[in-house]
Symmetry: C2
Subunit: 76 residues, 2 copies
């Protein structure tokens, strides 16, 4: 069955927020470590933007996880 883009991007945003909070990082901490603007971090977590692979790599590096872990959550 095909995965809905909207559902996946929403779950990705929630998952990134959970990983960030698990590390005890604020959006500002993640912004500083990833060199992504805090407003963009917020938009990704709220699933408002179609982010790129480069941005995902920066977030993964800042969260100290592999990029594939960002996409590793249960699909609905």
């Amino acid at each position: 069955m095909d995965i809905s883009q909207e559902t996946f991007i929403a779950s990705l945003g929630v998952h990134i927020r959970q990983l960030r909070e698990k590390k005890g990082m604020s959006q500002q901490d993640l912004a500083d470590d990833s060199e992504i603007r805090k407003t963009q971090i917020g938009r990704i977590e709220r699933a408002e933007i179609n982010t790129t692979i480069k941005t995902l790599i920066k977030i993964a590096n800042a969260l100290d996880v592999e990029p594939k872990e960002l996409l590793d959550f249960p699909l609905k």
Copy 2:
């Protein structure tokens, strides 16, 4: 250690090509099934573009894998 964006995107392109060939699909087959232009498929496989999560979801659906599997390859 931080993952290099260039290295990761290059490995991603190779991995997508390998998954596509394993399914016996041409670039045109993948383009047709994913509704992504064939030229863009080629650019992703050759790591010429910073693709988006929506495009990765379309490719994953066309290859009948989960999106996280597209990022599941050994890191250098």
